[in-house]
């Protein structure tokens, strides 16, 4: 917003008015500086998070080195810490969540963007976004008392009965465990992946569809061959955005995963994630090395979330801005 008033060249300018104008220009400069300062605060904040976590993690890093990430012994009593069970639990529960959430979210996005009439689409979009607004601790409460009993009595016996020969689905049904964590995470990421993918699909130019219809394609063929390929980059971005959320999700997972630092072949067994370990053990950590090891895991989670989110934003922005811009 450039100040378009040319300064001091009108003939009848009184000295007082000139002084006022100078003051105004000074005030504009000051205001600009204030806005810039607050904007830079955000960048500073992200740096501060990284630096303070890294500094607090130094004792654990010095003691265990990079092997911290692939050592599976987590033994607070003997002051020995390896993060592998947590890394494993975080990755497996998130992968499971994406496995369930991606097909469902894509179906929802296609339905909202391509199939539903505008009114139905507005209402359904709103409902799906409400799902994202439910606090995760409420979802966790529902998980403990409604979802895990159902998983224990229905899902796991059925999976064990049909696919029990796979180590993944072997063993007694617990209810509480990796499978439940994956399920509850999928519920949490569906609204994210679905709503971002919907926006991506809506940004696909109408000509893409018309060209395919003109060739005699059915609606599904138009979606499959003209719309989805066009929006592929953005959809991948949406999925990565969902992954970012799943990796760091804490409360709901803590409440249903069982919180046992082990690496089990079966998805029915309890597990542990980095975020859940922080939630449970941080305020009870007794030794400095213990705290430092937990903070090192937080640092790892921070770096991973930075990379994942930056990649996702970049992919989504590439599609939506390049297409939307006239």
């Amino acid at each position: 917003m450039a100040q378009s008033v040319p300064a001091g060249n009108s003939p009848g300018t009184l000295p007082a008015a000139t002084a006022g104008r100078a003051r105004a220009r000074w005030a504009d400069g000051a205001f600009r500086a204030v806005l810039t300062l607050f904007a830079f605060l955000v960048i500073l904040l992200v740096f501060a998070i990284g630096v303070s976590l890294a500094r607090a993690a130094v004792p654990a890093m010095a003691r265990f080195g990079a092997a911290f990430l692939w050592t599976s012994r987590w033994d607070p009593v003997h002051n020995f810490f390896g993060a592998l069970p947590f890394v494993y639990g975080t990755l497996v529960s998130s992968a499971l969540a994406l496995l369930i959430a991606v097909p469902v979210s894509l179906g929802v996005a296609i339905y909202l963007a391509e199939v539903a009439r505008s009114r139905a689409s507005t209402v359904l979009s709103f409902v799906v976004e409400l799902l994202a607004a439910i606090p995760s601790v409420i979802l966790g409460l529902w998980g403990i008392f409604v979802m895990t009993p159902w998983v224990r009595s229905v899902v796991e016996p059925v999976l064990g009965g049909t696919l029990g020969w796979l180590p993944l689905f072997s063993g007694p049904p617990y209810g509480i465990g990796m499978l439940s964590a994956g399920l509850i995470l999928s519920i949490m990421v569906i609204p994210i992946i679905a709503s971002v993918s919907r926006d991506v699909l809506r940004a696909v130019p109408q000509e893409q569809r018309e060209a395919m219809y003109a060739l005699g394609g059915t609606r599904w063929e138009v979606i499959r061959r003209a719309v989805l390929p066009y929006g592929r980059t953005g959809i991948i971005g949406a999925v990565i955005l969902g992954l970012g959320r799943a990796l760091g999700e804490t409360m709901a997972v803590t409440m249903v995963i069982g919180n046992r630092p082990q690496i089990a072949a079966s998805l029915f067994q309890p597990g542990y994630t980095i975020a859940a370990a922080l939630a449970n053990e941080f305020s009870e950590a007794t030794t400095d090395l213990y705290v430092s090891a937990l903070i090192e895991m937080a640092f790892v989670l921070f770096v991973v979330s930075l990379v994942v989110n930056a990649a996702a934003r970049w992919l989504v922005a590439r599609v939506t801005t390049s297409v939307v811009a006239p």
Binding site: F31, T36, I49, L53, I144, I190, R219, R224, E249, M255
Partner: protein
């Protein structure tokens, strides 16, 4: 023509039908958990919520009775503290993005989006190192800072988008009348976008009001009334988490009651904000 390019029209129509139905099925699958959560929280919560819940502090472990009055007030205080951090920084930063921007603005916007994606538990650990360790105790202040940090990118991005919607001619008219740029920005541009900015703030409050993870080792928890900002403070969410994982039936009952209160707050704020946003969009065209 199409029959030549793609033979077997009948089969293609059937595939089209099946895929459309599958997409509809996906919508149903996505909505089932929402319906189930809303249903259980409403039914279980309605039977559990009572006068004592709103007026009493927690009873001794395992004994029935008591309520979450202190946690309810604690959540409101924490939201207030967070707003003191998040709203000014968010709004001024958002004004920077929309009114100054440029290449620096691109980086700030990108960083804000990335900060928005940082797990809330990590923010909690950061504030623990920043506030709790130097103060040597858990405190309401630390909890407020943690929630405030989460609020900044949310408020910033909605403010930017809402202020961008203000027509350029309005700014030009104000500048042409001789108002300095800073007065124009605050009294004309921001003022015009007030409704939208308030909507963004409401959504941000709804989001942080339901946060638990960043409070676990900042505000911690408190079984008693406390209004001191340098002392641990109870919150609805942390109390609910503690009750949900405890082995007492009466605490489970109270956890459901807390869930009902919290969900009502969240949903009301969300619905209000979204319908207001939609109405503005409709009249704007």
């Amino acid at each position: 023509m199409s029959a030549v390019l793609f033979p077997d029209v009948q089969r293609r129509r059937v595939v089209d039908r099946i895929m459309t139905l599958l997409c509809l099925g996906a919508v149903v699958v996505a909505i089932i958990p929402l319906a189930s959560v809303l249903g259980y929280v409403t039914v279980q919560g309605a039977s559990a919520v009572n006068w004592a819940f709103f007026t009493q502090t927690p009873g001794p472990a395992g004994e029935p009775g008591g309520g979450m009055a202190n946690a309810l007030v604690g959540t409101l205080i924490l939201i207030g503290l967070a707003s003191c951090v998040g709203i000014p920084v968010g709004i001024l930063g958002g004004l920077f993005l929309s009114e100054i921007g440029g290449p620096v603005g691109w980086w700030v916007r990108f960083t804000a989006d990335v900060l928005n994606g940082v797990p809330s538990i990590v923010i909690g650990v950061f504030v623990y190192a920043l506030v709790v360790l130097p103060m040597r105790r858990f405190s309401a202040l630390a909890g407020g800072v943690a929630l405030g940090v989460m609020m900044i990118p949310l408020v910033m991005r909605t403010t930017e988008e809402m202020v961008r919607l203000v027509p350029q001619s309005l700014r030009e008219a104000s500048l042409a009348l001789g108002l300095p740029w800073w007065v124009t920005t605050l009294r004309v541009t921001l003022r015009t976008a007030t409704a939208g900015v308030v909507t963004g703030v409401m959504l941000a409050v709804a989001r942080i009001g339901g946060e638990t993870a960043p409070l676990l080792f900042t505000a911690f928890n408190n079984q008693f009334w406390s209004f001191r900002l340098d002392q641990p403070m109870a919150s609805l969410t942390v109390q609910m988490y503690n009750y949900a994982i405890a082995p007492y039936d009466d605490w489970h009952r109270q956890a459901w009651a807390a869930a009902l209160v919290l969900m009502t707050l969240t949903l009301v704020l969300n619905i209000l904000a979204r319908t207001a946003g939609r109405r503005r969009e409709a009249t704007g065209r």
